[in-house]
């Protein structure tokens, strides 16, 4: 065999051995794979996931049916039909509330503009991302599924305040920015639930 061929072969073997040694080294490193679904990925506080409609601490709905979210939505995913509050049996503080509120999560592109548009911080995006289902109809989330439970509300309703507008506006965005990204839960009810679930999984 010619010496140049031998040299080339040696070089080739050397290069391949080098590659093998790199992959071999990776066997002993920390694995980045997450064993989903038994372990769930930690999402950032700002994560754009499934929506939720929030309430005030006294159980009243925050949404006043103003339709700003639906006009801000680039995907036309939100339908709001507003109605007057009946005196004595009010759904939300103020004059109006959303009689119907629906988000088509198949149309939604999770841009977060509804949350930015809402003047009462009623609609917020949560870190929940598992929405898979078998039927298209199941992706139309109505108030039943969007509203948080009655005892999961936050903030004082504006009726008790002068001016008629809630005082904790911008708090959601604020909490989402100030929570450490490594902490990873958001200011929302679903975010809290996810966090407890994660804790449970971690301790198992």
């Amino acid at each position: 065999m010619q010496s140049s061929t031998i040299k080339k072969n040696l070089y080739n073997v050397g290069a391949i051995l080098k590659g093998l040694s790199i992959t071999f080294g990776y066997m002993f490193r920390k694995r980045p794979t997450i064993q989903y679904p038994s372990v769930k990925k930690q999402h950032a506080p700002r994560f754009h996931g499934l929506h939720e409609l929030r309430r005030y601490g006294d159980g009243q709905e925050r949404c006043i049916g103003c339709e700003l979210c639906s006009s801000a939505c680039p995907a036309n995913a939100i339908t709001v039909i507003g109605a007057e509050n009946a005196p004595g049996d009010r759904v939300s503080p103020g004059e109006r509330h959303a009689a119907r509120y629906e988000i088509d999560e198949l149309r939604c592109i999770f841009c977060g503009m509804c949350e930015e548009a809402c003047p009462t911080d009623a609609i917020v995006l949560t870190p929940r991302f598992e929405m898979a289902d078998y039927r298209r109809g199941s992706f139309i989330y109505d108030k039943d599924r969007l509203l948080v439970p009655i005892d999961a509300g936050v903030g004082a309703a504006p009726d008790e305040r002068p001016g008629g507008i809630p005082g904790d506006l911008g708090r959601v965005a604020d909490i989402k920015s100030t929570t450490d990204v490594a902490e990873g839960y958001s200011a929302t009810w679903r975010g809290e639930i996810l966090k407890t679930q994660r804790r449970g999984l971690a301790s198992q």
Partner: protein, 406 residues
């Protein structure tokens, strides 16, 4: 063999004697998306190749005409889905020029924009390197690249809220400052990058199989590159050092210290080396941008014509409330005019030609997608090569079909 101008169909080719027609794609895994290439082959050799595009047509340009200027951002970001920030930044820069607020963008917003442009370039090149490797049978590279990319997606998610389409860069600045804990994550990435890059180079650069498959394959001469309007790393692999960041600096790129890697061979291996070098240069820029992030400051222009007031002020003043309603329900208006703005996306010169008639929606947004022009050069590169080499050529041009078809 006569070259017909009609699209290649089996009927036409069956009249041409020896040749056989092979439709590669649109579901072929190595076409990186939904590209169909009609090939005329003799044995294993390609005689003629005709890329058929349009399988991923989504009508984004048209959709954008029906949205407010601010909403259009969300769909435009989806063109080049591997580098969302380059789309949104280019669009934002164009609209800002029409509005005449380019000089008013806060310094911190400009630094963060550069930061994400370069992070997104690394992330996009990671996908290219991983898939290019897997096309040639190098599977480990794919995993290491995607692990590295995952770190960048985490950063994007932390800042903008989504892994792929964060809708973070906005007209007038950014949607919110960096969240708490972001810089620690960024530092970890900056630290991890050089080692991972060494491994990736070690796996492929000197690998004889990889070299055999790429050296001398798909040689694009500088003249041909210019003729096909090729830009980006594919052009720089052919010896022409055109980079929009240097030629027409935007959003403060002239104040960063970086090189534009150029190779003169023009083959697939040269394009591979240029992209690897580019990732390292991007890392340099990221490091410089990181140092500038210690100074706090606003990230959104304070211009009531364009931006809504901070939400907490809505509770305090009626003017702020009305202003908020106005901006959200009818958007902002842009003075009539037209402007062409380009940025250096990971694939080349990405440009938007934006026309306004003075309304609150764009009249027309025309894209110059770098992938589309780069892809057309396959026509000239493929003939004479083996089918297996066509896969290499395609991979080395790195087209993204969301952008080609829009």
């Amino acid at each position: 063999m006569t070259m017909s101008t009609q699209p290649l169909t089996p009927e036409i080719v069956s009249q041409e004697g020896n040749a056989m027609v092979l439709s590669m794609g649109p579901q072929h895994p190595s076409t990186h998306g939904v590209l169909q290439i009609m090939l005329e082959i003799e044995g294993e050799t390609v005689v003629k190749a005709e890329p058929e595009i349009g399988y991923l047509h989504t009508g984004i340009e048209k959709t954008a005409e029906n949205l407010f200027w601010s909403q259009a951002q969300t769909v435009i970001e989806r063109m080049d889905y591997l580098a969302p920030e380059s789309n949104s930044l280019c669009y934002a820069l164009a609209v800002e020029r029409l509005l005449g607020i380019t000089d008013g963008i806060p310094e911190r917003a400009r630094v963060i924009r550069v930061l994400f442009m370069e992070l997104t370039r690394i992330a996009s090149h990671c996908v290219w390197l991983g898939t290019h490797g897997i096309d040639l049978g190098a599977i480990s590279v794919f995993f290491y690249c995607f692990d590295l990319r995952e770190n960048i997606l985490d950063l994007q998610e932390a800042a903008g809220g989504a892994r792929m389409h964060p809708n973070y860069v906005r007209v007038g600045g950014l949607n919110g400052d960096l969240p708490n804990g972001f810089l620690a994550k960024l530092d970890a990435f900056i630290e991890k990058f050089p080692g991972r890059m060494r491994d990736l180079r070690g796996l492929l650069q000197a690998n004889p199989i990889f070299q055999d498959r790429t050296i001398g394959v798909g040689i694009l001469s500088p003249e041909a590159a210019l003729e096909w309007n090729v830009t980006g790393p594919s052009l720089r692999g052919s010896g022409i050092g055109y980079d929009v960041r240097k030629a027409f600096p935007y959003t403060g790129y002239d104040s960063y210290d970086f090189d534009v890697p150029v190779r003169s061979e023009g083959d697939a291996y040269a394009r591979f080396l240029v992209r690897l070098d580019e990732m390292e240069q991007s890392h340099r820029i990221v490091e410089q941008a990181r140092r500038r992030l210690d100074t706090p400051g606003p990230v959104l222009i304070d211009d009531p014509k364009v931006t809504a007031p901070p939400k907490e002020t809505i509770a305090l003043s009626m003017e702020a409330l009305i202003h908020h309603f106005k901006i959200v329900s009818e958007g902002f208006r842009v003075p009539p005019g037209d402007v062409y703005q380009s940025v250096e996306s990971p694939r080349g010169e990405l440009g938007y030609y934006v026309v306004s008639t003075g309304g609150n929606r764009p009249y027309r947004i025309r894209t110059r997608p770098p992938s589309m022009y780069n892809l057309q050069s396959v026509k000239g590169l493929a003939p004479g090569n083996l089918i297996a080499d066509l896969v290499v050529i395609l991979g080395s041009l790195d087209p993204v079909f969301g952008e080609v078809d829009r």
